[in-house]
């Protein structure tokens, strides 16, 4: 059962990165889109994610519940040492979730829209940035269980170049996922072209940020090189991700939308795989070489059994319903002005 639970944890994180990520990315694109195109972007965004919006963010909650039920020590260590970035991320989640809904459901359309839009776009950037910081900090070896000053316990645990670089990398991945996704949702050729350009832009940004991550890892003594290239899984994943990237660039303007999406998803999956595979099952790496392992810090037998069972039963209900939801609105996309 432990492996079932870990699989669910990893899959929820991946799905949150892919679906929630694309969702954040749409807001990031808005942030990087000039005045007159903003409205088009917004409409495409709405018709693309409106119905599944709420569901995309459930993956985060599932991951958190798995952590605090199944791996309470890991959850509480991260909660203590990464209190500040977690709080900022939460503020981002509040701001973004409410702004998205308010701008759509406000009965009167006036200047308030401008405020909702600004909040939405900014928090779409801040939230994944801090999500990246949290993920980067967890594995960076900066969390110090013996810290005795405020700074070393609560600030330097997350404020360092590696985490910042991972944060930027996460943001660019989100923008990338969203633009690839939105190419298929746009109504006309001009917008499609625009999203294809955006996809290139964020792709280049992701490569640059990726290089920054490696440089920062080197500066901060994070053995990232070893994790990525020190084993066959990592090497194969990275090579196939790179090859698929080249293929994707080739496809970008050819309108092969499904294939593009699959490739983008594949790349992100490979990135998550390489970065987690090598130090599995240690998901938090502490200062001084200690670590928190999913194996050693799992809850007692019965807890894991009932957690695994709850997750399995849950997915029997959730997955078909979710697929049907996505399928229905893919087959027959929402129009922005459709009565609802």
């Amino acid at each position: 059962m432990l492996y079932v639970v870990i699989t669910f944890l990893w899959t929820s994180i991946l799905l949150y990165l892919l679906l929630g990520g694309a969702d954040y990315g749409a807001g990031i694109i808005e942030l990087f889109t000039s005045g007159k195109n903003k409205e088009v972007t917004r409409k495409t965004l709405y018709s693309a994610i409106g119905p599944i919006w709420e569901a995309n963010h459930m993956w985060l909650i599932i991951a958190i519940v798995i952590l605090f039920v199944g791996f309470p020590v890991i959850y509480s260590t991260m909660s203590v040492n990464l209190h500040i970035p977690l709080t900022i991320m939460l503020l981002g989640i509040i701001a973004r979730g409410t702004a998205f809904t308010f701008r759509h459901y406000d009965a009167v359309v006036d200047d308030m829209q401008h405020i909702y839009n600004t909040i939405f776009a900014i928090s779409s950037f801040v939230t994944p940035f801090f999500l990246g910081i949290i993920a980067g900090s967890a594995v960076s070896g900066h969390i110090d269980p013996n810290a005795d000053t405020f700074l070393s316990a609560y600030i330097f645990s997350w404020l360092h170049w590696f985490a910042v670089a991972v944060g930027l990398f996460t943001v660019s991945i989100c923008g990338f996922l969203a633009s690839v996704y939105l190419i298929g949702e746009a109504d006309d050729d001009q917008s499609r072209l625009r999203f294809a350009h955006k996809a290139q832009f964020f792709n280049i940004a992701a490569v640059i940020c990726g290089i920054l991550v490696f440089i920062a890892a080197y500066l901060e003594n994070v053995p990232l090189m070893e994790w990525v290239f020190g084993n066959w899984v990592g090497r194969i994943a990275i090579i196939s991700a790179t090859l698929s990237l080249i293929w994707m660039w080739y496809l970008l303007y050819q309108g092969k939308i499904k294939l593009l999406r699959v490739l983008a998803g594949f790349q992100v999956t490979m990135i998550l795989l390489t970065t987690t595979y090598r130090h599995f099952p240690n998901i938090v790496i502490l200062k001084g070489g200690g670590y928190l392992s999913l194996m050693e810090h799992a809850g007692q037998e019965k807890t894991m059994q009932s957690l695994g069972l709850a997750l399995l039963i849950g997915s029997v209900f959730i997955l078909p319903a979710l697929f049907y939801l996505i399928y229905s609105f893919q087959k027959n996309p929402l129009k922005y002005n459709e009565p609802h």
Binding site: P51, L60, S76, I94, L325, P339
Partner: protein, 438 residues
């Protein structure tokens, strides 16, 4: 403000905020399902308009409820890491099932909100019902988790270690049924009265009278039916508390001295130093009856509980009085309303009845907040009753006060925006739905 108080205040604020949205998220789908059903059956446009207008409100409340809930699932760790370290694996079962319930709710909401004119109309109606049922299920589950904090079960506590964990037993602890029942009814009371009150106000103002009358009827019938049974479920809760948490019961009643044939104290100002209650109305024997079903029985007072385990008496007592007061008031209004429905149709058109409902708009939610204050403050100084102290559970991080101020600012502004949006929704009813209808 010290860190411990700040952490407690932040938790209370976040929960007090979330509970409003979760009550609405649990109950409104049922109101909508009724209106929707009436529309599908009778084809009267007004019911369609009611359904659509409500569904927009629900979307706003749902989003706010969802983000505040997401915040809570992190806050449990951010503020109470020591508690979660031990409690997570024990009381996690309802939370993991709740995850499923939320997910289904979110999916069904996608179908419902965006599915107008796209699906078979009964399928569409059904997705609305699913939103309600899964919301209700998540409410019941999360209350079962809270009940575990009042009535810990499903593990052996040996030398500070939590052994032989059994999550299923933990979920079905002694308190879960009475709390879940009382909470579910409370959600219907609070939402019903709030919605009915707002529509009553609009009827009195003479705006879109047909629209608001239909909405009022649906909300009032649900709210009043629930308000009539709520005191009985409260009685079940009180008997339960008397059994498992005598300290909480004593604090609720400001019952300082153990006695037989104990009197029920109504109102009054507890004087914790001199251990008495001033200016209170005393009903001899009634406390014994309420707690144990026997006018003669003995009720444990605070004197039998070590001082370091006393909950704050005044807050718990006031909160309890407020809840019961609101509950009684709403029960009386409900009785009048049902009288009107069955015997005195004339009353239904009279202004005073509507005014009564307008006045009662906030009562249900006040009672909900007060009730939770009883439950949570009455459990102090324990976070897990009898097992772990709240003070031992708090995060070691300093400066929580700033976090509390920040979240207060965020929640206050969010509350303002939600009220503002609701106001605009109501204002627009005329424009959007005031076509010649019938």
């Amino acid at each position: 403000m010290n860190d411990f108080i700040a952490a407690r205040s932040q938790m209370a604020l976040s929960l007090g905020f979330h509970i409003v949205f979760s009550c609405i998220g649990m109950v409104m789908p049922f109101f909508m399902a009724v209106a929707h059903y009436m529309w599908l059956r009778t084809d009267k446009a007004v019911y369609k308009n009611v359904t659509k207008a409500w569904s927009k409100g629900v979307a706003i409340f749902f989003a706010t409820g969802a983000v505040s809930g997401t915040v809570l699932s992190f806050e449990l760790g951010l503020l109470w890491p020591e508690f979660m370290k031990h409690a997570g694996p024990i009381f996690g079962m309802p939370f993991s099932l709740e995850g499923t319930a939320f997910f289904i709710e979110a999916i069904a909401l996608g179908f419902f909100l965006y599915g107008w004119d796209r699906f078979n109309k009964w399928f569409h109606w059904f997705t609305g019902v699913i939103v309600g049922v899964s919301g209700l299920a998540s409410g019941i589950l999360v209350v079962a988790a809270n009940a575990w904090m009042n009535s810990p079960a499903g593990f052996n506590f040996v030398d500070g270690k939590y052994l032989n964990i059994d999550p299923i037993k933990a979920m079905f602890n002694d308190a879960w049924f009475s709390q879940a029942l009382h909470m579910t009814i409370a959600a219907f009371v609070a939402t019903g009265f709030a919605v009915a009150g707002i529509h009553a106000l609009m009827i009195l103002k003479g705006k879109n009278v047909l629209f608001h009358t239909r909405s009022f009827q649906i909300a009032a019938i649900f709210g009043c039916a629930a308000a009539l049974v709520q005191p009985f479920s409260g009685d079940i809760s009180a008997k339960d508390v008397a059994k498992r948490q005598p300290a909480k019961l004593a604090a609720m009643e400001a019952h300082f001295h153990t006695e037989k044939s104990a009197s029920l104290i109504v109102g009054g100002i507890p004087d914790e130093e001199n251990k008495r209650v001033n200016y209170a109305l005393k009903l001899p024997g009634f406390l014994s009856f309420l707690a144990h079903g026997d006018f003669e029985s003995e009720v444990k007072g605070l004197d039998q509980i070590p001082a370091e385990n006393h909950p704050p008496v005044a807050i718990t007592h006031y909160a309890f009085q407020i809840m019961v007061g609101m509950g009684t008031a709403m029960m009386l209004i409900s009785a009048l309303y049902f009288m009107a429905l069955w015997k005195k149709k004339k009353w239904l058109e009279s202004e005073w009845l509507l005014k009564l409902f307008v006045a009662a708009t906030p009562l249900g939610f006040i009672a909900v907040e007060a009730g939770w204050t009883v439950t949570e403050v009455g459990r102090q100084p324990w976070i897990i009753n009898g097992i772990m102290r709240t003070a031992d559970a708090v995060t070691p991080m300093p400066g929580i006060a700033y976090s509390f101020y920040l979240f207060t600012a965020v929640y206050v502004s969010l509350a303002c925006v939600v009220i503002f949006m609701l106001y605009r929704q109501i204002k627009m009813v005329g424009k959007l739905y005031d076509k010649p209808q019938l």
